[in-house]
């Protein structure tokens, strides 16, 4: 057997956490537990423990939900679109993108349940839900995208599970589980036919569903007649923003995993350079949509829109708005235009800024609009006009983010981060084929 191939399998096979990994897991678990405590309090006392009132009936839960939906879109970008375009350089990044997509879409579903005042009545959503409501469209499309994302993660893993079964021959437990998960994969001609056809169907299927999930999420806002949401452009605007957030997330995770697992031979500087170029293109595209979204309403300046826009440009949300636009889009574009800016560390830092900016951008989309409705509500206390998340909301939101990272961490612990079989095939090592056949 080729030594290079053996090294490849050994490099890419899942490994136990180092002490740093264990500390990371404990750290995330503590955040999740604090959030769980807060959520139990919320269940007991109701949504009164949040800062949401008659005006701001959506808060950071919903902006966090939109963020998760946005990040989940990355699975379709990196894997499906690049796969169908015949791009091969992205192979080492596909698994990372798929893992992020699965974790994000699971957490999007959980976050929406967290936002419910009476989650015990969730079944009523299905029993009495109206197909006229965009909320039902969102429920349908999220569950569909979750199913497709799971399949899209699982299918390409079949050959890898078979390889891992052999690799972990001495570990009975892992050998048995990888064997079961490989579904008797041998790489036979018939299996390869079914496999290739299924991957093609998935690649085609996931793109419209991924676009639909974020477009429908945009419609949740757009179908409500409010300043800032009254736009025909919201679908593509959200999709463009989602690609930015998702790509940034992939860069962050690939940087951390490359460092932690010493994968410099597989996730190279060239990958960072190309991801940097994709990110700058997506940031420019999103910037273009932002200009459309804010310039035209500013030009028309109808009374309610003007109040809303003033609060964003110079009012109480100005620092958040400009931080998200300049820190999360303009500066990243400037940095990424230079070759040095697309080196791993600068790109990692830029991506952190992009993802943080993307999170706050969702906050800026959701909250200020609710504070300035077309029809003001009469007879509510002045304090209800403003929204300030409570510490319980923050702790629950942080817990959902930590839980997403925990899902990614555990998937990374048991799945190969870089697809083994595809990498071997691309490097044209015939042993890889022998490995998957008896």
């Amino acid at each position: 057997m080729n030594n290079s191939y053996t090294k490849l399998v050994s490099d890419l096979a899942p490994r136990k956490f180092s002490w740093k990994g264990n500390v990371w897991v404990v750290f995330l678990a503590i955040i999740v537990l604090v959030g769980l405590y807060s959520y139990i309090q919320q269940l007991r006392q109701g949504l009164v423990v949040t800062g949401m009132r008659d005006y701001a009936l959506w808060g950071i839960y919903i902006s966090n939900f939109v963020f998760f939906v946005a990040v989940s879109l990355v699975g379709s970008l990196i894997t499906a679109i690049l796969r169908l375009s015949g791009v091969h350089w992205s192979t080492p990044l596909t698994r990372i993108a798929e893992i992020i997509a699965v974790a994000a879409i699971i957490m999007a579903g959980i976050t929406i349940i967290v936002d419910m005042g009476r989650p015990d009545r969730m079944l009523n959503l299905f029993l009495h839900g109206r197909l006229q409501s965009p909320i039902i469209w969102d429920v349908i499309v999220i569950s569909t995208y979750l199913a497709i994302s799971l399949l899209f993660l699982y299918y390409p893993l079949l050959p890898d599970f078979s390889i891992l079964k052999k690799h972990f021959q001495e570990n009975k437990y892992l050998n048995r589980w990888y064997g079961r998960l490989s579904l008797n994969w041998t790489g036979s001609k018939r299996q390869m036919n079914i496999y290739s056809r299924s991957i093609k169907i998935l690649s085609v299927l996931i793109i419209p569903v991924a676009f639909a999930i974020h477009t429908v999420t945009a419609w949740l806002f757009e179908t409500t007649y409010r300043p800032g949401w009254d736009s025909t452009n919201f679908g593509p605007y959200f999709v463009a923003g989602a690609f930015v957030a998702g790509s940034g997330a992939v860069v962050i995770v690939m940087y951390v995993l490359r460092k932690a697992y010493k994968l410099e031979d597989y996730i190279t500087d060239h990958h960072f350079d190309l991801m940097g170029k994709i990110l700058v293109m997506l940031c420019l595209l999103y910037l273009y949509f932002n200009i459309n979204e804010y310039l035209m309403p500013t030009y028309k300046s109808t009374e309610e829109e003007a109040v809303h826009l003033r609060s964003l440009f110079t009012g109480e949300y100005a620092w958040l708005f400009w931080t998200a636009i300049i820190g999360g889009l303009v500066l990243p574009v400037i940095v990424l235009l230079f070759r040095w800016g697309r080196k791993p560390l600068p790109l990692f830092i830029v991506s952190l800024a992009v993802v943080l900016g993307a999170w706050w951008k969702r906050y800026v989309i959701v909250i200020p609009t609710l504070s300035h409705p077309f029809l003001p509500i009469q007879g509510v206390p002045q304090s209800w006009h403003r929204y300030q998340p409570t510490w319980m909301e923050w702790s629950i939101t942080m817990a959902t983010l930590a839980l997403a990272l925990l899902i990614i961490t555990f998937l990374v612990r048991f799945l190969p981060i870089v697809p083994i079989q595809e990498t071997a095939e691309e490097r044209q090592w015939p042993d890889s084929i022998q490995t998957t056949r008896p």
């Binding site: 109206r130 197909l131 041998t186 036979s188 079914i194």
Partner: protein
């Protein structure tokens, strides 16, 4: 050491006994319901006894929900005849419909007597509320006198004798609540009648106005209400979309296009997903050398 252990055991037993007694007491403590009863007759529709119950809870007076009443008719010799059982709703209200036989006078009687009882309830103390009333009839008609429409109501007792000096209200039925017509009250004359002119033209679906004349919460006769309809309003077209399939309808009235196209899309996506799941089974069942 032994003495200390015995004291500790005794102390624990005492605490347990105390907690058991307290919990038993807590279980035995029942609320006292405050009940009001009213006789309501809607001419040509139904006669009923309406009950309203509340109690002093932790947050002040709260409606007594799920509270069962046994309602009895008091027969002339003070014996009780059970006519029905009713339970309060979330607003603490309940009613018992009186049948024709319940509302028939026994020989010599001029007053009906009923008793509503709370009996053997887990949460509320046993108690009873009684109600007495005489039967009366209220008729209404819309008249046209000198090109002016007038609504006339006549209140009589069960023998048909007019009841003068009673205060009646006249209103026009509207979606949420009746619209008062004229003064707040009209007093019946020696013929037991009130006549109210309808000066303002009023719009209604197909021009049909429905008026209601009521004697409200009379000590002697309870509440009596009569409805009368007349095609004297300004006809307006019924623009309600209640029966149509619209974007704001309930799930049973979803527009057809919204049922067809999204479901076709859902099928178009979920059929391939099911095929992909089946493909996983096919991969697992594939023979090694095939």
């Amino acid at each position: 050491m032994r003495t200390i252990s015995n004291y500790r055991l005794l102390f624990l037993l005492g605490v347990n006994l105390l907690s058991i007694i307290t919990s038993v007491e807590a279980q035995d403590k029942k609320f006292r319901a405050r009940v009001s009863a009213q006789y309501v007759k809607i001419t040509g529709k139904e006669s009923s006894i309406r009950l309203s119950a509340k109690y002093r809870g932790e947050d002040g007076f709260e409606p007594a929900t799920g509270l069962s009443f046994n309602v009895y008719k008091v027969i002339s010799d003070d014996s009780l005849f059970l006519i029905g059982t009713t339970t309060t709703n979330d607003a603490g209200k309940a009613k018992v419909i009186l049948t024709d036989s319940d509302n028939k006078y026994s020989s010599g009687d001029t007053i009906f007597n009923y008793v509503a009882r709370i009996e053997n309830n887990d949460k509320f103390e046993d108690s009873e509320t009684s109600i007495s009333f005489s039967d009366a009839n209220l008729t209404a008609e819309v008249l046209s006198i000198d090109s002016t429409y007038q609504i006339k109501g006549v209140l009589t007792d069960h023998s048909g004798n007019p009841l003068p000096g009673q205060l009646l209200t006249v209103g026009l039925q509207r979606f949420y609540a009746p619209l008062h017509i004229g003064d707040e009250f009209y007093e019946t004359d020696e013929n037991g009648a009130v006549t109210v002119p309808l000066n303002e033209p009023m719009p209604a679906v197909d021009g049909i106005l429905t008026f209601e004349i009521s004697l409200n919460e009379s000590d002697q006769y309870g509440t009596i209400q009569t409805l009368v309809s007349a095609p004297i309003g300004i006809p307006v077209k019924d623009e309600s979309t209640f029966d149509q399939r619209t974007m704001w309808s309930p799930p049973t009235k979803t527009p057809y296009y919204l049922l067809i196209f999204p479901n076709l899309i859902i099928l178009g996506v979920w059929v391939p997903i099911i095929i992909l799941v089946i493909n996983l089974f096919r991969i697992s069942k594939t023979k090694i050398n095939s």
